[in-house]
Amino acid sequence: MSNSTSIAMRPAKTPSGQLNILCKKLFSMKNLRGLISCVVFVALWQMVIVFDIPYLKNLPFPHDVAANAASSAVTLEYWMHWALSLFRIFVGFIIAQLLGVPLGLAMGISKTFKEFSFPAFEILRPIPPIAWIPLAILFWPTRELSIYFLVFIGAFYIQVINSMQGVQNISVNLKWAAFSLGAKPKDIFWRILLPGSLPSIITGMTVGMGVAWNVLIAAEMIAAKGGLGRTTWESYTNHNIPFIVVGMVSIGLAGSLCSVLVRWVGKKAMPWTKKF
């Protein structure tokens, strides 16, 4: 029925009409306001330094940072740090998913299994991942392995909980409907429980990815050789202040790149959630 946001009169789909709409979108008030907010931010930053505001006067100038970023971006070393950090994230993150999803699903499906496993799990879960750093360094033979482990911890618990809740939140009506239609347990698992918990699993991945980056940066600053976190920390010790900012921005970029990727995977895996 027409209770959707349906449309009575569409403009003709001519190229000029489309161009018109595109222009309207591009120069919309929303985008204009967004641009203003960015300009004001940079201007404030500049003024903080120019006017010698106490405590903040050590900030580098925006243009120094930009220059530093431009010169770093052409070095191989800078991109090696990116590659190192991304690689660590993916190793830890993927292992966390490979173990977390099945464990969570099992807890969600079998009450008995949950009663056996969940209490122990709940004792370890509240420990912040960063608190694992000393033990992880002692525990694993190499620094690299301990960093993978920490990233894993960051993403693992979240995924277990989300997968478990994903299964538990599937409406009993869907399961009943499937049974009525003659589904056997294997059909229920593969065609109902697994896809039904997917939205929750993807949420677990998105949140887990965020936590994983937090943990990674902390771990790199303390224990790693190379990586975006490490290089940012080292520029502090070398007093290369513009690069501290470049490093920070790089970390932010890398983090959002990863969440975009996760969201893209989610969209591909769940075509039914896109509307129209």
Partner: protein, 297 residues
């Protein structure tokens, strides 16, 4: 599995689907709470080839009754039969259309509708033929590759009907299937349902809160009592078929309507005595029921 009306030749779909409940009680016991008697000593027969509509105050056990016939729950005492055979587990000869849509959101309309056939291991070619016929019947053939979230509420309900009908069930159990639709769509769905029924004559048990819907669809209108749930009265709705929406503006219809409303009043007021929140609505009704308000001045 599903029977086929064409196979035997002499039977039509309306010759099946007689659901009988004998002395059924349903008691829920929860730790630390008083036990809830949802149904008690209920004897009830859903006559084959007819549309039986169930009405009653909230919490009178209408959904429980559906679940018992569907085989989702087992009665505390008493027995449930379908065509003389005891009901023990869910099966595709008794299909439920749920209150909120129970389409699988991650499957296209086509996969939803053919789910039953697929898990029962039917051949692909046969599945596709059946799906095509049924989707055309409910007017969703062009929409078969869409996901449920891409459909309007009315289309979702038709898809769900199709998913049940493709299995050729002996009885359809409709648990407030049109709830949540806007009034216009709802009316069109009611007309669609009536038309479908009049074509096939399939046995239907239909639960609803809407009195107009109930009378428009029903051959028999059963009104349930409030906890413990029993059948209070069964009204025969002898409005002529085929029915058009215009039947709702006839004196016969309005007569049955006010009779049914009176019976529902009584039950809702009992619910009030039992302290049900929703039943407070009746205070005003009982106080002012027959002599409405005074004219000012």
């Amino acid at each position: 599995m599903s029977h086929s009306p064409s196979a035997g030749g002499k039977h039509s779909v309306g010759d099946f689907g007689e659901a009988r409940l004998e002395g059924v009680s349903m008691i829920y016991e929860q730790e630390g709470e008083e036990k809830l008697v949802a149904l008690e000593g209920l004897d009830f027969t859903v006559e084959k080839g007819k549309v039986t509509v169930l009405m009653g105050p909230t919490g009178c056990g209408k959904t429980v009754l559906i679940n018992l016939i569907a085989g989702y729950e087992q009665p505390t005492t008493g027995r449930v039969f379908l065509d003389g055979k005891p009901v023990q587990e869910p099966g595709c000869d008794r299909l439920v259309v749920f209150q909120e849509s129970a389409l699988f959101p991650w499957m296209t309309v086509h996969s939803n509708v053919t789910f039953g056939c697929q898990v029962q291991g039917m051949a692909e070619r046969e599945i596709n033929e059946k799906a095509k016929a049924i989707l055309k019947k409910v007017g969703l053939y062009e929409f078969q590759d869409k996901y449920p979230s891409q459909l309007s509420g009315g289309m979702q309900r038709r898809a769900e009907l199709a998913r049940a009908l493709i299995n050729d069930p002996k009885i359809m159990l409709m648990d407030e299937p049109f709830r949540g639709l806007d009034a216009m769509t709802r009316q069109l769905m009611q007309e669609f349902f009536v038309q479908l029924y009049e074509e096939e004559g399939r046995t239907n048990l239909f639960v609803t809160h809407e009195i107009d819907e109930a009378i428009f669809l029903a051959d028999r209108l059963a009104i349930m009592t409030f906890q413990p749930g029993k059948i209070k009265a069964i009204l025969e709705v002898d409005l002529p078929r085929p029915r058009q929406f215009k039947v709702m503006a006839t004196p016969e219809f309005m007569k049955i309507r006010s009779h049914a409303l009176d019976l529902l009043y009584e039950e809702s007021s009992k619910a009030l005595a039992a302290g049900q929140k929703s039943a407070f609505d009746l205070v005003g009704a009982l106080a002012s029921s027959k002599d409405s308000c005074q004219v000012p001045q």
